[in-house]
């Protein structure tokens, strides 16, 4: 891999490649150390961290669907305190930016959480206003422009880190959400989170997931994610982190062409735990073949 060709700066974060592990699918990064050189990847985006520990939702939490999966984890995590004392010190050993994904129950709580994470070892915050699997927080902020803006403002007020706001696809007009958080000061926008879906067990007549509904992710949703990334990248000036269904370097190139400056791999990590590394290698080889000397030159080059 040509390091110069692939390196980039995204919202002030220096990355070795534009390919990251997506929140909730990449643990805290260390879990993938057996499968690839985690010091060589773009960034690690942590599982969603909340102010207090959360056990997540009851019952079955994952289900396979055609070319994808549903999850209703419900933001299980040890809480910000335990994250800082027991997890963060371990991840600091990795020479890869750690982006901490955060969720909270109110705009104020988002701010407090951001303040607590304004510490060494955290490269940036990804503000999850789009978790479909929790009642409080999450999705309400992700579907109302004013609420999203208020969360963004509060986080910005309490942190010195770059703030990436992660949007929900479960909206009529994604650009309206994107503009709201951009105006509120977001340094970058990431999208998409999962699309709300469900499945029913036809023998028991019960929902397959304990939480009834869950978030759909994986290749099945890629066309929708790509469309939203394209719409958003045209609508805002801040850089975009594109994700949703990426499974191979070709998918990643589509997202870059659509206007994403960086990409993340989610559910496909479960299928191919080397995906983040292999996709970066694939992009690099593609750039070489196309005679493009810097990956950023590809961004937004779609010809419409």
């Amino acid at each position: 891999m040509d390091k110069k060709r692939m390196a980039l700066e995204f919202a002030g974060i220096k990355m070795k490649t534009p390919v990251m592990g997506a929140s909730g699918t990449f643990g805290f990064g260390l879990e993938y150390a057996d499968f690839m050189d985690i010091n060589g990847i773009g960034a690690i985006i942590s599982k969603g961290i909340t102010p207090k520990p959360r056990p997540g939702n009851a019952g079955v939490r994952v289900a396979e669907t055609p070319a994808g999966m549903l999850n209703s984890i419900g933001l299980e995590n040890p809480g910000v305190e335990a994250f800082k004392t027991t997890i963060l010190p371990k991840i600091k050993t990795i020479d890869t930016p750690l982006i901490v994904n955060i969720s909270a129950g109110s705009a104020e709580e988002y701010g407090e959480l951001a303040a607590e994470l304004d510490v060494d070892g955290v490269a940036a915050l990804e503000v999850n206003i789009s978790c479909p699997n929790v009642r409080e927080g999450g999705i309400v902020f992700g579907t109302k422009p004013e609420a999203a803006a208020s969360v963004t403002r509060n986080v910005k007020l309490h942190t010195s880190k770059p703030v990436i706001v992660k949007l929900s696809p479960n909206v009529t007009d994604i650009t309206c959400m994107a503009k709201a958080v951009e105006d509120a000061g977001a340094d970058a926008i990431s999208l998409i989170n999962t699309i709300t879906g469900m499945a029913i067990d036809i023998e028991s007549w019960q929902p397959l997931l304990g939480n009834i509904t869950g978030g759909l992710s994986g290749p099945a949703i890629k066309p929708v994610a790509l469309r939203m990334v394209w719409q958003t990248a045209r609508a805002v000036k801040v850089p975009v982190l594109g994700l949703g269904g990426i499974s191979c370097w070709q998918d990643a190139v589509e997202f870059l062409l659509a206007g994403a400056s960086t990409v993340a791999v989610g559910a496909y990590n479960f299928v191919n735990p080397r995906a983040v590394e292999e996709i970066a290698e694939g992009i690099d080889a593609y750039l070489a073949r196309k005679g493009i000397s810097q990956v950023s030159e590809l961004v937004g080059q779609i010809k419409v």
Binding site: G27, Y32, D34, P55, G56, A67, V271
Partner: protein, 253 residues
């Protein structure tokens, strides 16, 4: 233990009984290091299923470089497995999780039901002639004893219909077996209801007991949190795929 990702070669793949199949895979690196109770997550590339499927290693032969899976036909993934032929490739991630705490020297009793018996074969081989108690619905479901015989001191069998061995559930046979044998540790794998019964009797008798759990898994390596539960006695959040699938019974029931 380092997790590996290898393209394994199917050596053989055949029905033991119509509903349960046995697949032998050439995966030498995994065969070398896998421990009883650990599992692998497999996927046929170019197959129709999306997520990997978790299967316990039912046996491993480091010399031949093979691992054995014994699987019940359940849905799409296992149907796809059953359609595979020798020499085809299948992607294997493993060894995964934390297996049984093997107690050489213990007088172990292994209690299994259904395909939960699969990992006990591998465990039995590594132990010093354990006692086995296995349960099945009908005579057809007791083929397992054939795989276990080489390693077991004794095999007790129960069937729901009494066609082979003792009639009834495994748990009902347990008190007599504990009376007949001086058991110092129990490992069990099978339906939750069975394992719970075993665990309760073990607790009453003061015999250490470990159980092997099953949960729907997406990642199998501890990142998705699809498979977690709260330890019953410690309250600790466990991941079945990484901290287990084998846990001390008191953490589960």
């Amino acid at each position: 233990m380092k997790k590996l990702l290898v393209d394994a070669v199917v050596i053989s793949n055949e029905a033991v009984i119509p509903a349960v199949w046995k697949m032998v895979l050439w995966a030498p690196e995994i065969a070398l290091c896998v421990q009883p109770g650990q599992f692998v997550a497999i996927r046929k590339s170019g197959g129709i299923t999306f997520l990997r499927r978790p299967f316990s290693v039912a046996d491993a032969d480091p010399e031949q470089g093979t691992i054995t899976l014994i699987y019940r036909l359940v849905g799409q993934g296992t149907a796809e497995m059953a359609a595979m032929h020798a020499d085809e490739h299948i992607n294997v991630e493993g060894p995964l999780g934390t297996g049984f705490s093997i107690r050489q020297g213990d007088k172990a009793l292994l209690v299994g039901g259904g395909v939960g018996i699969a990992p006990l074969i591998f465990l039995a081989r590594k132990l010093d002639r354990p006692v086995l108690l296995i349960g099945g619905k009908t005579a057809e479901e007791t083929f397992w004893s054939e795989f276990l015989e080489p390693y077991a001191e004794k095999i007790y069998i129960t069937t729901d219909d009494g066609s082979v061995g003792r009639k009834g559930f495994t748990v009902q046979a347990l008190p007599d077996i504990l009376a007949e044998n001086e058991i110092t540790g129990i490992s069990t794998c099978g339906p939750m209801i069975m394992m719970q019964g075993v665990a309760e009797i073990a607790a009453k008798e003061g015999i250490p007991c470990e159980v092997s759990m099953e949960k729907r898994m997406a990642c199998s390596i501890g990142v998705c949190l699809g498979c977690t539960f709260a330890g019953k006695s410690s309250g600790k959040r466990y991941k079945v795929c990484a901290d287990g699938p084998v846990f001390p019974a008191e953490e589960v029931f």
